[in-house]
Structures are given as structure tokens and as C-alpha cells.
Symmetry: T
């Protein structure tokens, strides 16, 4: 059974308490549970790791090399600045899906830039907790049938330009 690592970045532990008008009132545990169940239905083992600490998130990506077939990454505000995360993801050789609860493109300008996007197969944003299930489903399909042009190895730019 393929293993998928779901990564949650800074402040996501506050979900359900923090600004529900933006992020909804479900907790992170709710979202993880939904993702895990979706994984079970689709034959994927979903593990989850949340940290406010960039270094521990990098370590999780490093450890996933060889141990996981896919990463689903909601990097919180590190999405916009962490080139270290970008470089770690570029060195991971499985499927990478970028995930956001809200729609960053419709919020403040600093949220319009993603350093994850150039090293992801695709992204899902703005569907709240539902996004977690959609992301797992996307992973299942990408692992099964390859990406749009036959696999992430060629469809994902190794380096941003």
C-alpha cells in the first residue's frame, strides 16, 4: 500500500480557533481524519506531520525520500518565502500536491507568490477541509495513471526559471 505524507506548516495547529471566517471551524484533526479515510478508500496509507518549525518540516521531506510515494503540502505562510522548502521538495522524487484551505490568489498580495508551486505537480486551493480529500484523490490518480504527460519526472520543472 503506497504511503502519502501530509505536511502541515506553521499556525495550522490553530485551525478551528483562528479566523473561522477565513479558514472554517473544523480542526486540523478533522481534516487529517478525512484525508486518512479518503486514503483508506483509495488504498493509500496517509501519515500526517504538523510543525511550526521549518527545520522539522525539511527533515520530514528528507525522510520521505524513499519512504513515501507522494507529499501533500500545506506549508502555511512558509509557502511564500521558504526557498529551503522549495529545494527540499525539488529533491523528493515522488508526487507533490500543493494544498491551501483558502484561496491565496484572492487574498493579500504576499500570498500570491508560492515557492512550492514550481516544484509541485499541481495545486488545490480554496475548498476548505474538502481540499484534503480532493488532494488524496489526486494523489491516488497520479500514482495510478501518471501525470498529464505521463509522469511527474518530466512534467514537474526541477528548477524554477
Amino acid at each position: 500500500m503506497s504511503r502519502v505524507l501530509l505536511l502541515s506548516g506553521p499556525n495550522l495547529g490553530l485551525l478551528g480557533q483562528r479566523q473561522p471566517e477565513i479558514y472554517g471551524d473544523e480542526t486540523l484533526a478533522d481534516h487529517v481524519r478525512a484525508a486518512t479515510e479518503a486514503g483508506r478508500r483509495l488504498g493509500l496509507e496517509v501519515d500526517h506531520f504538523q510543525s511550526d518549525d521549518e527545520a522539522r518540516l525539511l527533515a520530514a521531506v528528507h525522510d520521505a525520500r524513499g519512504n513515501a510515494a507522494a507529499l501533500v503540502v500545506n506549508a502555511g505562510a512558509l509557502t511564500h518565502t521558504s526557498w529551503s522548502l522549495h529545494d527540499a521538495l525539488a529533491a523528493f522524487d515522488g508526487v507533490v500536491v500543493e494544498l491551501h484551505l483558502s484561496n491565496p490568489a484572492a487574498r493579500e498580495p504576499f500570498r500570491h507568490t508560492s515557492v512550492v508551486a514550481p516544484v509541485a505537480n499541481g495545486s488545490i486551493a480554496g475548498f476548505g477541509g474538502l481540499g484534503y480529500e480532493l488532494a488524496i484523490e489526486a494523489v491516488a490518480r497520479l500514482l495510478d495513471v501518471g501525470g498529464p504527460a505521463g509522469g511527474r519526472g518530466t512534467s514537474r520543472p526541477e528548477e524554477e526559471r
Copy 2:
């Protein structure tokens, strides 16, 4: 049964022939069929309209007012420039999902800007034909349970800032 309008913009009729290394080798008809079947499973009637003509796309959005519960919009290259489309979508009062086959954030700079994003509930990009099914699933859930913070009326910015 709720009706969903799937809109396809310029050049999407070429799918399957044009740059398969980017867009895959399925045709638009393949994608529409997958979306329609996903809709059937989820109790949604999916209609599709493709046009290379911005005016006809605008008319389709206008006609959807009162006739459809949701729009799934892959606007092709109009994504990056058509403020008319932005204004038409802002005047539509149902769910709006932005959809792309490839991951625009990982391609040329002109594809990094979306005029659809500020008036969409969320977006799905980079999963090829699979994105069509994911988008229909997202619509189903949004219509069922409301958006992240209780419905699109409040979560979608009427005006970009």
C-alpha cells in the same frame, strides 16, 4: 438535480492534438465525459460549453445566472487578461471553481496572473484530465455544505483589491 456549467475557453478544442507533453493526449470530449459521469454519481447535471470567442463565453456566464448552481471555468489564455470575464463571474451568484490542466504557476510568467481567481471559490490546477472530476466533486461538496466559512456569498471577494 443541480445544474453545473463547465466552461472551456480558447484553444481547448485542440486538446489531444496540441503539445501533449504539457496538456496530455486526452481530448476535451474525454474530459467532459469524465466530468459528466462524475456529476451523475454525485447528483449533478453537467453541461459543457466550449468557445474560442470571449463574447460567447460571457453570454454563457450571463445565461447561467438563475440556471446553474455552479460554474467550472477553464478559461484558457483568457485566464490572464479577460477582465470582462472577471466582471461576468462576479455577477454570477453561485459557486465558481477555476480549473487548469497544467500548473500555470510553474510555467511562463504571463500564466502566473489569473483574473478568474479573485472571483472564484477555489482552484484546481496541474492534474490534467483528473482535474475535471475533482472540480465536479468540489462543486458537489460546496453546494452541499457551503464553502469554508459558510457559503460563497461571504467568502468570495466581490472586488479584487
Copy 3:
């Protein structure tokens, strides 16, 4: 009796239904009627043409060459992007008045740029439906007495700089 062509661009057919807090609740027909009556009082025949289609708007401008003494143009969102419209207006040799229901300068940044402005004699913005009457009145006076410095031929820059 001089003929004035009133041109309305994309989405303006929705007036009265779309975002009344911005555009008011009068319909486009209401505005056209007011403009037509103002024209009658001032000895001007006012024709109106609305289209969501840039090409048909261009054709209307082309047809106005030799057939109309003035254009009143509310180009909707094409105001901000259609250099084709700019070029068509530059080739029209009568009076050109730019018209907006709301005040674009006080809205989103993309509305702060007008490609119509450099080829217009003047502009009227922010007065809702009243603007249609003011625009017709402006045309009447410009046709009667010439522009600010003796005629549009010299006061209107043929080319933007």
C-alpha cells in the same frame, strides 16, 4: 441633425441586475432612454449599440466613420485592455467621450488604466445613469463650439506617448 453613437461594452446588458451597490439599479435601457431624450432636446440623434463582442464594437466604430459626428463610449472592462478599440477610435474623426457609471479611479487597480482615454476628448465617470445625459450634453457643446483649444483634431493626441 447630427448623429451620436452611444457604445456599451461587455456585461453592460446586465445593468440593473449586477452589483447594484456599485452600478445602481437602473437598466441599460433606462440610461439609453435618458441619453436619447437629452439628445432630442439638444438636436442630436442618439443611436445605441451594446455588445459583449469586441469585434462587433470595432465594427460599430468603423461604421461610425462618416456616419456619426460623435461617439460616447462606455467600453466596460475592455476599457483597460483593448488596444484594438484604442486603434479604432484613433481612426475615427469625430468627437469621442469616455463614459463610466462608477469611478474607476476609486476601485481596483486594474481599472485605473484606460486605453480609451488617450484617444478621447474627455471623460465623465462616477455619476451613474446621470453620466449618460452629461455625456450627450458634452457632445452637443463640443460639436457646437469646438473642443477646449479649438477642435478635437488638435486637442486629441493621435498617438499615446
Copy 4:
């Protein structure tokens, strides 16, 4: 009878002498007379104040609070730089109309930015002396029927974004 204050900024006292190819050959007194007569026809008392001194213009705006129902402002070159004027106008609770003799959008780049626009109901530009009459007519209608969305209190952004 409602009172309207017509404000004229720096260098406007030179009208009729300065660059007639841009500003026409009528004097400021001619324009004020036309505005006053237009006001008389429409039941508005029009007062005029011209100054090259930003501080005195600010004082006039302050004094208008409670004493005038509307301001018509041709701020000259202060249009482009005086955030003090912007703040004073934001604190005025009547109708505000921005007025220009020439069409700033068709002139030098520094004239493309207006600090008055974000705190005005609307603007009229490019019609030479005729603009004064149109502005008074606009005021009359705005005072009578409210602005596009029912009154300036809501249609005018208190703060620029």
C-alpha cells in the same frame, strides 16, 4: 437653496493667458460665471474660491463642512501630490466632484495619478469650460437623487486601497 463650493487650485488664475492650446482662451471668471448661472437654473448657490496656496484650499474645504452640500474641485497640479487635500476631502460629508479642463489621462504621466479621485463621487475631464456647467449639473442630480448606489456616504471609499 443648497450651496456648492467651486474650488480652483494653483495657476488656475492664469487661465486665458497660459497655454491656450491646452486650456482654451476663456478666463477663470468666464468659467465661474457659467457655473454660477448653471447653478441658478438648477436651484444651487455657487460660490467660488481660487488660491495658489494649499493651506488656504484646505481651510476652504474645512469651512465647507456644514456650510456646503457639495464641492467641485479643480485642484490644478495639487491633484497629483496633495495627500493633505485628499484627507481634507475625506473629512467632508457632502458630494465631491473632481473637475479638469484638459484630459489628464492623455497628457504627461505625472498627471495620470489623482489623489482626489479616491475621495470623489465622480470626475469630469477634458471638456474645457463646458466642464464647469456639467459639474454643476452633476451636483444637482446627485443632491436630488443620490449617487449610483443611493448616496455618497456609501459609494465613496473613505480610504484608498
Copy 5:
């Protein structure tokens, strides 16, 4: 005999009437005739299609796939904004030549950007009607001997960077 499609964009139907100091006083028919005759001399069949309508221009490019060996494109003002045209041309697998009557690089800034250039083999600008003959001659040679580095397949960037 190889077929070449000559495409003319918005406003080009006005040639001969519009701003002759910029575009010369020959009509589009004059230019097409010259191009056709040049084609005849060089063993090329030249067809021409003019439209003010972006969607019809896209359709013409789509139809040329498999039916024409080369496109000569004078896209008018769409040159500067139509990423849809860019994408359609990228999906055409013959020779593409960009053509302009005037020299856009020596005119207004908005004309300095071309979305056609990144998907063209080369461009010819500033020679008025003569450019049509030069473009046909260029096509003839490119079809005969391949492009500068042995054929457009490799010399034309599929994607702009």
C-alpha cells in the same frame, strides 16, 4: 504547391483610410495582391484572411494545421495582448512569420511587447506594404532550406521564458 495563410487582425481593413502618415495609403487589398503575386513567382499559394474577431483568427490558425505550410501574421493590436493567439500559434507546426507595417519598437510603449514573437521564426516590421512581399519571400526560403539552425521545430521556442 505549398499553401501560405496570410492573417490580418483588427482594424487592418481600414488600411488606406486610417492614419496614412503611419500606415501609408495603400489598402489591404493592395498588400494582399502584392503578396499573392510574390507567392506565385515563388511557387506558393497565398490565401488571406482578415478579421477584427479574435475567435475567428484563432479558428483560422486552427484550420491551418495540416492545411498550410506557413503563417504570415499581422495581428494588429492583438499582437500586444492575445495570449490565446500565442497559444494557437504554438500549436501550429509550420513556419510562422510576424509582420508589421510600421515599426512598433519606435512607437508607443504598449506596442513594444509582442506575444507573437516568442512563437515566430522571425519578424519583419516597418517597411509598409513592401513587408508583405518580403514576408512571402522569407517563407519561401524557410520552407526551402529550413530556418537558421535547420528548421523551425528546434529554432522556435515552444514556450516563452
Copy 6:
């Protein structure tokens, strides 16, 4: 018989050896020969001067004043930076044609700016060695019939804006 000076800038002496995938494998001598023969057919005497030295190129432009009817300029990388060359060309009173082997608009960003363009009648780019023949043909026609609007004196902007 009119004299045309063909100018080649820095590094062009390497043609045939340097990056053939961009510049082709013909030498500069091949190109000059083709241009000379094209000139002979068209009644033009073609001289050629190549230098890596900006000062000597300037001297060649100065000497051409009164001695040549036209300049064909492939300035190499000086195209993007040499305002001295721009000023020298502005002081030349014959026809000026800008020439490039590759298509600079489709290459690195620094090649998108040309200081030659604002003082040229037109440009030809992207056709490899064929461009030399096309440029000579363009000169022949411009000398014969005048430029697009009746001669370079008026169609070429003396000063960039």
C-alpha cells in the same frame, strides 16, 4: 548606382563557428556575398564593414553621411546598450534597416531592448542569412518608393520618447 553600407558589430566575425544552433553555420563572408549579389541584381552597391570596436562602427556611420544612401545594421550585442550608436544613426540622413540573424524577442530578456529600433525605418529578424538578402531588397524598395508614409525623413522619429 546607390551605395549601401552593411555594418556588422561585435562577435559577428565568429559566425559559422559560434553556437551554430542559434546562428546557423554559414560564415559572415557567406552572408556578405549573398547581400552583395542581391544588391547587384537590384542596382545597389553593397559595402561591408565589420568591427568589434564601437568607435570604429561610429566612424563608419559618420563616414556614410553623404556617401551612402542606406545603412543595414546588425550591431550584435551593441544593439542593446550603445546609445552612442543610436545617436550616430540619428544623425545619418538615409535609410536605416535593423537586421538580426536570430529573433531577439524570443531569446533572453536583455535582447528584447534595441537602441537601434527607434532610429531605424524597419527591422528584419530571425531569418538567418536570408535576412541579409531581405534587408537589401527592403533598402532597394525604400530608396525607390519612399517609406510607408512617403520617406524616412518623416517616418523615422528623430528622438525616442
Copy 7:
């Protein structure tokens, strides 16, 4: 007893009336009284000068040379544009404290730039009327113990970089 000059710029005379949701409902007189009393407690004589007139504010700064030990400056909207005020403050050789009622960094972009900051020892913003007392207290301490690194002479940059 050391003398402190409290300077208030344009529109600050409106405090208590203007936009209380931003500036609070205390008047300028209230703030001056609080500052004066704070000064009395700390052994400082506080004088106050308000003007909407940049020239009179400059004169006040000039007069303070030799007559005051410190300036507390709330320059209103001149904060963002008046390089004349910047130059006058640079020529004052005592303590300079920048003061704002609201937090400019959290408001419109034009308020994010301060020409006072580069010539001030420090700034206090966002505390409403309380800021006046804090500013006087800051002055008292700076006069007593010198600035962070031993005195304003070295800690305040004479020239912005």
C-alpha cells in the same frame, strides 16, 4: 527648564470631528493638554503649534533652532511628501520624535513612506492621544540620558541613503 515644541500639520485641527473610527474622538486641544501636563511632570515646557500651511511649519522648525531642545512632529499628510520639512528638520540640532495617532504602516500604501523618519531619533504611532504623552516622556529621557548610542548627533542620519 527645557522647551519642547509640539508641531501639528494639516487637517489635525479637525481632530474629534474627522473620521473618529480612525483618529478617535478627542480634540487636538485634548492631546495638547495631555502633552503639556506630561511635560510639567517631567520638567519640560511644552509649546504647541498647528498649521495647515507647510511654510509656517517650516518657519516654526527654523525658529526652534536654539530655542527648543526637542521637536515632536505629527506632520499629517506632509509626512509622506514634504522634503522641505525633511530638510528643515535635518538642520535642527535637538531631539526629533515622529508621532502619529493611527498606525500608518497598517493603512493605505501612500502612508507607508515617511520623509520625517530618516531625520528623527524615533517614532511612536498607533496609540491615539496616548502617543502625545509617550512622545513627551521619550523626549524627557532622550534629553536626560542621550539616545540609544549616546546622543542624537551620531544616531540620527544627517542624510537619507
Copy 8:
């Protein structure tokens, strides 16, 4: 007794040793002592936490939710880049004061941008160690009387624009 958390970011542990010409020669312990004593005088319990570790600073902000009435934040260089800190502070529902020893607006350009400012009630900068006392005094007053417009809930923008 209300609790205030004083947060110190990276490198602030070096105070007293590092660049005394900029930061003074007092240690962080000196500043904390002064703040604590000021708190005691004003009935506030002041706790302090310093870390070079962004994740631990985020945890401290999270823990303060419900446990502290106010935060005083000197985030060191994280001030300019940590959107994670911005998001954590936005989720804190008490008073937030931004504090700096030096005056960032008068130093290098990278220090001119603060991600803390949009989610703070106010800021104090440039007064060295004295700033700590001023900040505590500001907190005391804000907790007592509410902010400028009656409380931070409304005066602090939840989202930057």
C-alpha cells in the same frame, strides 16, 4: 493583574555586545528589568521570552492566546520576512505593540518593511531601552481605555491589503 508577554526575536540576546553604536550598550536583561518594573508600577505582570527560533516564538504567541492581555513584540530581523509570525499575531486577540530599539525607517531598505505592523495596534521605534518602558505604558493605557477608535478589535486590520 493583567499579564503582558514581551517577545524578543533573533540576535537580541547579543544586546550590549553587538554593534553598540546602533543598539546601545545595555543588555536585554537590563531592558527586561526596566519593562518589568514599569509593569509593576502600572499593575501589569510582564513576562519575557527570547528565542532565535521562529517556531518557538510562534508557540509563545499561540500560548499567549487566553493567557495574556497583550504582546510587546521586538521580532528582530524576522520583522521583515516572517509571514508566519504575522499570521500568528493575527490570531491573537489582545493588544499588540511593535517595538524596535533603533529606527528601522532610517536604516537599510530591507528594514523598512514590517510584517508585524499590519497586525499591531501601534509601534514604538528608535528610543533604545527606553522603548521598553514606553511600550509597557502604552499597553497599560490601551488595556484601560481602549485604542484610538474604541478597541483593537476594530482598529487593527485582520488582513493586510
Copy 9:
């Protein structure tokens, strides 16, 4: 005898006291005396007017119309922002010389922009008090022989581009 008006802007009354390492230790009176004597030798009557008040400087320019043959303008920091001054100078029909004691191009970036330059015949900067004499000498010559290309009417751009 021709009359020349020497205008000095804000803060120039401080000369001799303010930052002598930049502006020298001569007073404004010293400079005016030198200019007056230079004028006497060259047959020019030199009047001087200094003000910190933009409005009074504008009035002085207005009054000079018809009363002075030339203006020598050291506008202080208004040089960088006062488009009102720019407009007033554009309406003056004699010689205009821009003068600075220091070399603005070698100082802070805000001093690199001059709104006086586009409406001046020429400028003199960086020579301290000597600049006053040079400016008078320049005026004498310009009045005598016309400007570089035969008079300011044609050599001075009426409008900046």
C-alpha cells in the same frame, strides 16, 4: 536694462547656518550680492525673492510674466515635488535657469528627480555660491544670442513626456 528674477525656495534662508559641509558657509545674502553685481557688469537688473511658501513662489513667477526677461530658480526641496511650480514656469515666456548649490545627482535618490528641469533652458549645479554668478552670466548670453537652437520658445519643451 533687462530684469532677472532670482527665486529661492524653502530653507534657503538658513544658508550659512545649515549643514555647511554640504551648502558652504556663505549666506543667501552673500549669494544674492554676487548675483546682483554680476548682473550689473552684464547690464542686467537682478531682483531676488526668497520664500518657504510655495504659493508665494508661484505668485512671484506669475508676476514675472511680462516684468522679467529671465528666471533663475533654486527651488530647494520643491524641485523634486512641486508640479505647481512646473506649471507656473511653463507659463512663463522668458529664459529659465535651474540652479543648485550642491550636486543633487550625487546625493540622496529623492534629489535625482527635478520637476523644474523639463521647463528650464538649462541647469547649473554643484558650484556653491559661484553658481549664482554663472547663472546670471548664462542668462545674459541666452538673452543676447538666443538659446542653443535659436531661442527658448522652441528649445524648451512646453510639456514633459
Copy 10:
């Protein structure tokens, strides 16, 4: 007798022939003669060197080290791009005066930047041939009395910021 080197850059040898409406109709020899005579009157030996070759201009600056007390530099279009010239002038330890015939600040944008300015004592621009005499006079005075703040060693920034 002090020696002054007058340096003239690219294209200046064309003076009198090239664009007289900008540069006047005097030749460079005329200007040199005027400068030389001005030098004679003031006790300065004026040498002149013109070259279109940047390397020879650099050599002239190098040779002037120890051999000339001052440089008067009209670098032509190298003014805007030659950081090599900037570096050479920075290594020269006498007076440096920047000279232009026309007023670059009133011409095309590329002429608004000077790499000479940051390493010059001052500049003179826009007075045509008269500028040469003024520059020599400026040198005489600077050598005699020192610069504005007592000598170029301190008033000239060694390094641009």
C-alpha cells in the same frame, strides 16, 4: 599656469552638422576656441581631446592624473552607460565638471541618468556653446577658492550609493 583638460565623447565631432535644432550650429572647434580663450583670460591652459573611443577617453583621464588640475567632461552618450568612465574619474584627484550642450533632463528618459554625476563636483547643461565658457569659469573659481564645502576631496562622493 594650471592645466585643464576638456574631454569630448562620441559623436561630438559632428557638432554643427548633426541635429542643429538640438545642438546648435556651432562646431566643436568653435566651442573649444571659446573655452580656450576663456581659459586664457582666467589664467588656465585649456587642452582638448575628442574621441569616439571609450578606451582612448579612459587613457586621457588616466594621463590627466598629475598633469591636469581639472577635467571638463562632455561624455556624449557614454554619460549614461560607461561605468568605466565613472571609475576612471573617481581615480582622478582634481576638479571634475560635467558639461552638456542640451538639457538631458528635458529629453528622452535614457538621458536622465548620468554615471558621471556621482563623481563630479558639479554640472552645467542646456546652454549650448556658452556652457564651455561657463565650465571653464567654474573650474577657475573652484581651483581658486575650493568647492562649496571647502574642496572637492570632501565634497565629491568617492563611491555612489
Copy 11:
């Protein structure tokens, strides 16, 4: 024997596994061994510390104060964003050498900015593992003979401008 601390930032632990076409196939241990041996030859004790954790890297720099004579810093992607690291290095009073395996200036734009550079004596980039030896050699020489202009105290800018 002088001590040198070699610091390695995020993701560098992956060397040898991650993208060998960019970073080579040697491991970090290989590089450290080479550096240590180079140090031994040159009489320097080389210690190494790698961390993905910015806070631990800061602590290492803090600890090096007084304990190491030099730092060799390969900060990985923190090179481009960590102003905290910049500030820590600015507070270190020994030699600082910036090191990169690849040549950042020839890669993606985000790698073109270094926050380490302004506080480093020098940098070595693009030589793969060899760079470690070169850096140690550079340190040895800098400690021996002082920096280019006699020591880092003066040659290293304490503050970026």
C-alpha cells in the same frame, strides 16, 4: 592554531543524493574532509556544523564570537532570505567567507540575491567541492596578511546601504 568554523545550511546534508547534475556527487562529508585537510596544511583547525535549523545556525555564529577566527558560510537557501543570519554575521568580528557549490548568479533569479554578501569579506562560488579548499586557503591568507585594504574591520560594511 586558529580555529575556522565551516557552516552548512538547509538541505546540504543531502549532498551526493540531491540533483547531482547541479551539486555533484560528492557528499558533504567529502567536502568537510577536504576542507579539514586543507586547514591542517595551512595551520588552521577546521570545525564543521550543519543544520537545517536557522536558529541553530544563528547560535553557532553567536558561539563563534571569541572562539573562532573565521567563518566559512554556505547558507543554502537561507542565503537569499535570512536577515537574521545577516545580523548575526554582522556581529561576528572575524573573517567571513561566503561559499556556494554552484554558481547562483547563473541559476534562478531568487538565487541572485545574497543577504550574506554585504557582511562577508569575499565569496567563492561555482567550483563544487573544490570551493571548500579554496575558501580555507582564502581564510588562511586573510588571517595572515589582512584583507585587501588592510583588514576586515574597514573593508567589510557593517551595514548594507
Copy 12:
């Protein structure tokens, strides 16, 4: 024995005399001698060529094709502007090392851009004369073992993006 060409650009002949606080007090001959001796030790023949003349530097790069195994390039201020040098280096097929005496990244902004970097294997900056020896050592190693990823042919980008 492999041959290495050491190239020195404009103004480098002044070393030892010019601004020793930046460049040190050794002469270029000193540096060349050190490089030559380092070459001798490492089995490399080092030739040196200095010129202030871009054309002669280009010629030296051209001549090195086939005659030298490596180039060490200190291009002086041409580093920042000479795209001709960039193109010449791109056509050289050996090792290229960029060298600077000072650390450009820590100096003026114009020195932060290098046109040499995109076509170099690596760079060494900020170590004064020592850099010459380091560069030769780097060349020796690169020639011996190939570059970081197995040879410069693949690791050096042929074209900047």
C-alpha cells in the same frame, strides 16, 4: 602544459594608485606575478592581457579559442554592461572563472549585476590580490577533474534566462 589567459579590463592598470582603501596597494604586475607563479607550481602557463578597450578584450577572447584551456576574467566595470563580452565568452569552449578584487555585492548597486556570471563556471570575489592565486588554483582543478557536475560543457548555461 595547459595555457590560461588572465584578462584584465578597464582601469585595472591603475591598481596600486587608485583608491587603495578599496583595491589594496599592490599593482597589477604584482597580481600577475603571483598568478604566474601559482600557475608554474600547478603546471599551467599563465598569460596576461590588460586593456581599457572592449574591442581588444573581445579579440583576446576570440584568439583564446583553441589556444587556451581557460580564461580568468576580471572585466572591471565592463562586468556590469558588456553583453558583447558575454557573447564572446559564451563562444569560448574552455573553463571561465570570474574574478574581482573587491566584493561587488557589498558595493554600489550597479556592481551587483554581472553579465559575465551567466557564462562562467564560477566566481571569486573580495580577496584582493589573493584572488588571482585562488583563481589559478580553481582552473587547475577544473581542468583536472571537471566541474561540479562533470565538465563545463554541461554545467555552464549557454544562454542566460
